[in-house]
Symmetry: C2
Subunit: 114 residues, 2 copies
């Protein structure tokens, strides 16, 4: 066991959902995404860079997000934004999330009452 106390397993797929959601709202670059997720969740969810960048590349390869390079003060930032296909995928993922979330809650809350 490397670190069974980490929240690793429960995080799966969540990164894709959150990234798609944010990129469906506004154009952002990688580093900004990581910071924003940490901020909005009060450090509850931290998407590391070794999760972030491979995910972004995969999403782009699948046509769910689009990128463009933008030079800001000498630095080259890669900005991403969700495509129409990405927004459709987001809806699907959100539905799945709601279904799983409701299922988990009903079991976590239920058995002692029923």
């Amino acid at each position: 066991m490397p670190s069974p106390e980490s929240s690793a397993s429960l995080m799966s797929g969540v990164s894709e959902l959150l990234i798609l959601k944010l990129l469906a709202t506004r154009e952002m670059y990688g580093y900004e995404l990581a910071r924003t997720i940490r901020l909005l969740t009060s450090d509850g969810i931290v998407v590391g860079e070794s999760v972030l960048y491979p995910t972004l590349h995969l999403l782009e390869k699948r046509g769910l997000i689009r990128s463009r390079k933008k030079a800001v003060e000498g630095r080259t930032r890669v900005y991403y934004v969700a495509t129409a296909k990405g927004k459709r995928r987001l809806e699907g993922l959100t539905d799945q999330w709601q279904r799983i979330f409701k299922g988990v809650e009903s079991i976590l809350a239920g058995p002692q009452g029923a």
Copy 2:
């Protein structure tokens, strides 16, 4: 892409959480666990047998659940129940679930309002 439309990735770790929760409440056998989870979540969450049994073996190996064989009408059922260690683990997993759940909800609900 094998099946990007499946809820596979979002399910990660959830099986362990639900199984531990149920076995912390009452003693159950494998097949019963699968049926119960399907029932309580109205088919929202389906834990297949190829997920269920390896998970049960792993949990037992880690000392989080305990098993005993019981013969019921010629059939041999393997009943499981959560150990004290398993219940502690359940608390930790539940906390992590709450943290992730709150984080996801705040991003899914937030950005358009803020």
